[in-house]
């Protein structure tokens, strides 16, 4: 009704019109600003996408027919860009071998391998070397040309001019935007990682590191398209491309250091099922993950509901004070309090062992560590359960409780047969979403136990959840495996989707909500 009438109203006031024009002008300005780098980089697809988005925005706010669109477009655009697109990309990545050693395309991989065979040619350029890690962890050579002092950033993908770098007295790059520069000590320690790193500058030329300097030269290696192989004329080694795994392999199966991205189909998923090193622990994590989520919901709900029952009595003294104290754990910054709990569970000086007179090594034993995360999570979560239980208790129909009382149901019986079922009807959706939240409760595990305890050589710890395990696979200190980590994420998606489906089924009788 309303929408039909307001269709004729349009932009009714002068202020409204001015605001509208101003906002659209701002959008246009932003669009031009955003288009410039895209044109500079000749990224035509991105430009087309941007133009489409701007067109949608302008169309939405200049037309008068579909009013709801005007209210839905901003949120929907954000939703698509930063929630739906990442989910789609995660699924895509899970079918590839993307990760350390497989970051680039095939051509770039060939160039990098060829460049690694570079021998110094007389008169070639030489550089002073600093090493930086880019924000996404890629090793980058930060080079200063000894001839003219210009600065360059080189990766296995190629060489780019580096603007805005600060050099120290010797001329070496000391500080560059977007890079974490290694200290000299670090450079000495991690020299090994640089041995195979080379920056291609042409088909058969490249820059190679030697100690703290680098030189440009010609490579003894060359790529031959007819056999899809790389030959090193100095050593006689031949690498053949293996398009299945995205690597160059020698006759006896040695892989060249740099590979490329290929689709690997369901390999990442199959690895979970077939690789015994992964399968066993993965199944264990899965079971613990469910137990942790269910246990957290049960414990927090039991404590929260217990207190709510205790305080739900009109005329009881001190309820306000009790309530104020009890929501404190909910109001405290949770990340900091988890870190605090981590200290309180310290074996030697921690408060928990101190107060209880124990000397439990909370981080060393699997079950101690699991108890620890559950205790801390109960502390964090019970106030929320308390608040919603109290709210639901007070909203219970008084007549059914009265009727139960008249029938002689008192105390525990009344609670179990009348109050609890009625409460659960109202609270089930919240309990299920609490389960879903705890299923992926990254903070409590990462900040409290960090997944500990780890048995020697195991990649999975006793308290690891799937999400912390996937995160470590992708961004941990050992080599990054984005493909596998994405597969685990997709796996989590599927579980959570199943939970949601169950939730929708159980609450279907509340359909009127959606009308």
């Amino acid at each position: 009704m309303l929408d039909r009438r307001s269709r004729t109203a349009g932009t009714a006031t002068a202020t409204g019109l001015i605001v509208k024009i101003a906002v659209l002008a701002l959008v246009a300005g932003l669009a031009v600003w955003a288009a410039l780098p895209l044109i500079g980089a000749e990224a035509w697809w991105a430009l087309a996408l941007e133009a489409a988005i701007v067109a949608i925005v302008f169309y939405t706010y200049l037309q008068r027919r579909a009013i709801p669109l005007k209210y839905l477009v901003p949120g929907t655009l954000l939703l698509i860009a930063f929630q739906i697109l990442p989910v789609v990309m995660t699924v895509g990545t899970s079918f590839s071998n993307y990760g350390d050693g497989h970051r680039v395309g095939k051509e770039q991989a060939i160039e990098a391998i060829v460049a690694a065979g570079v021998q110094q040619t007389p008169g070639g350029a030489t550089y002073l070397v600093a090493v930086g890690e880019s924000a996404d962890g890629e090793l980058t050579l930060l080079l200063t040309d000894t001839a003219d002092g210009s600065t360059w950033a080189g990766t296995e993908a190629g060489l780019n001019e580096l603007d805005g770098a600060r050099t120290d007295d010797s001329g070496r790059v000391a500080d560059a935007d977007g890079y974490t520069v290694w200290s000299l000590a670090e450079l000495g320690e991690r020299q090994g990682e640089l041995a195979e790193l080379a920056v291609p500058t042409g088909p058969e030329t490249g820059i190679k590191v030697q100690g703290l300097s680098a030189f440009e030269g010609a490579s003894t290696r060359s790529y031959d398209e007819s056999c899809d192989c790389i030959t090193d004329s100095a050593t006689g080694v031949v690498w053949h491309a293996d398009d299945q795994s995205g690597r160059f392999l020698t006759e006896d199966g040695q892989a060249a250091l740099v590979g490329w991205r290929v689709g690997v189909g369901f390999d990442n998923y199959l690895a979970v099922l077939t690789d015994p090193d992964i399968r066993g622990p993965f199944f264990g994590v899965f079971v613990w993950n469910i137990a942790f989520a269910a246990g957290s919901v049960l414990l927090t709900f039991a404590v929260g509901l217990g207190v709510a029952m205790a305080l739900n009595r009109p005329g009881m003294r001190g309820t306000k004070a009790y309530r104020a104290v009890m929501i404190l754990p909910y109001a405290m910054p949770s990340f900091a309090m988890i870190l605090m709990w981590a200290q309180m569970f310290n074996r030697d000086f921690g408060l928990v062992n101190d107060l209880l007179g124990l000397s439990v090594n909370w981080y060393g034993e699997t079950w101690a560590a699991r108890t620890m995360v559950l205790v801390a999570n109960t502390w964090l979560g019970f106030p929320y359960m308390f608040l919603i239980s109290l709210g639901a208790l007070q909203a219970l129909p008084a007549d059914s409780l009265e009727a139960a009382k008249i029938d002689g149901a008192t105390g525990f019986t009344a609670f179990r047969k009348i109050t609890l079922p009625l409460l659960l009807v109202a609270l089930t959706p919240l309990l299920i979403s609490s389960f879903a939240f705890n299923f992926n409760n990254f903070n409590i595990i990462e900040l409290l136990s960090g997944g500990a305890p780890f048995r020697s050589g195991d990649a999975i710890g006793g308290t690891d959840l799937l999400i912390t395990y996937a995160f470590r696979q992708a961004f941990g200190s050992s080599s990054a495996d984005y493909g596998f980590a994405s597969a685990v994420s997709v796996f989590i998606f599927i579980i959570v989707a199943t939970i949601s489906a169950v939730m929708f089924r159980t609450t279907r009788n509340q359909e009127d909500v959606y009308s």
């Binding site: 930063f82 929630q83 205790a310 001190g318 104290v325 981590a342 929320y384 990254f442």
Partner: protein, 306 residues
């Protein structure tokens, strides 16, 4: 289950003569309530008392800290603001600069959508509402790898919004704008009588005037609650912030304070960490306590309405 308890009741009922003394009656009626409440209050308070005690502990190490304070000094607070490698004020500032606008914009965008869902009937409305309920079950950090790649690419073109930028992180937080809060607000808007809208239309108001001039002001409580929850959620985020912000002065409180804990810093930083925690909590606790009433009704409103 049902059958046994019926007989239970029959057996128990006659066994309840009023032969108990006044104390026993008080204990059965109210006493246990205080007992339960006090036990849980102790449980709730222990870590908080410990934080306070650690923050004012003169030594500042874990081993010298006990539940009840053994001394008093503001040394830890001084170090928090004076030491060069603890840019606490910067961290605090960063957290606010990210969380306040992110919460504000999320709530604004979310309330727009909630208005559309509450007041208009259009094709795809129901599926969209259900989809929002579904998508909020997938937290943004599940697709961290993809977010990482996306913002790596964005950073190539627009360094202001790439990795290691506050704007990039804000965009991720705002991506989750439509979700729970949209549902909460839609529920609240539904309770505002439609007759008000119709009266406004007769007076010549357009849809925008109805929304900004009438619905928004009338919904102040729910908007405050959604805003607070979004703000606190953003303040508490660790995983995305630790991924996006790696330069020490650029960190948020969550990422920065973690660098002060045992695994990453000398033992004497424990007191400093506690002091930082205490200052952060003063902010969040004040906000919570002042809006306590709304929070209870806001959360349960969501419970009843799905």
């Amino acid at each position: 289950m049902t059958r046994t308890s019926a007989t239970d009741r029959a057996r128990k009922a006659p066994k309840r003569p009023k032969r108990r003394g006044p104390f026993a009656r008080w204990a059965a009626d109210t006493g246990w309530r205080h007992l339960v409440a006090i036990l849980v209050v102790v449980f709730a308070l222990i870590p908080i008392v410990y934080v306070v005690s650690a923050a004012f502990n003169p030594t500042g190490t874990l081993s010298a800290t006990s539940l009840l304070p053994s001394g008093f000094s503001v040394n830890n607070f001084e170090r928090l603001f004076t030491e060069d490698n603890i840019p606490f004020a910067r961290w605090f500032f960063n957290s606010l600069v990210i969380a306040v606008p992110a919460a504000f914009i999320s709530i604004f965008v979310s309330s727009l959508a909630a208005y559309a869902f509450s007041r208009f009937r259009f094709k795809g409305r129901r599926p969209m509402l259900l989809f929002l309920l579904l998508i909020q079950m997938f937290p943004a950090f599940l697709s961290v790898v993809a977010l990482y790649l996306i913002f790596g690419a964005i950073g190539d073109f627009y360094p202001v919004a790439g990795l290691n930028s506050k704007l990039g992180l804000m965009l991720v937080y705002m991506g989750g704008a439509l979700g729970v809060s949209t549902w909460l607000m839609k529920g609240f808007f539904d309770t505002i009588p439609k007759e008000l809208d119709e009266a406004a239309v007769i007076d010549g108001a357009g849809h925008a005037q109805i929304f900004f001039g009438m619905i928004l002001p009338l919904s102040a409580p729910i908007i405050a609650i959604s805003g607070i929850l979004a703000f606190v959620g953003t303040m508490n985020d660790f995983i995305l912030a630790s991924l996006f912000l790696t330069d020490r002065p650029e960190m948020t409180l969550a990422v920065g304070l973690k660098t002060l804990t045992a695994a990453n810093s000398p033992a004497s930083y424990f007191g400093v960490f506690a002091a930082g925690t205490l200052i952060t909590s003063v902010l969040t606790v004040t906000v919570f306590m002042s809006l306590q009433r709304y929070i209870v009704s806001g959360l349960t409103g969501g419970a009843v309405k799905g």
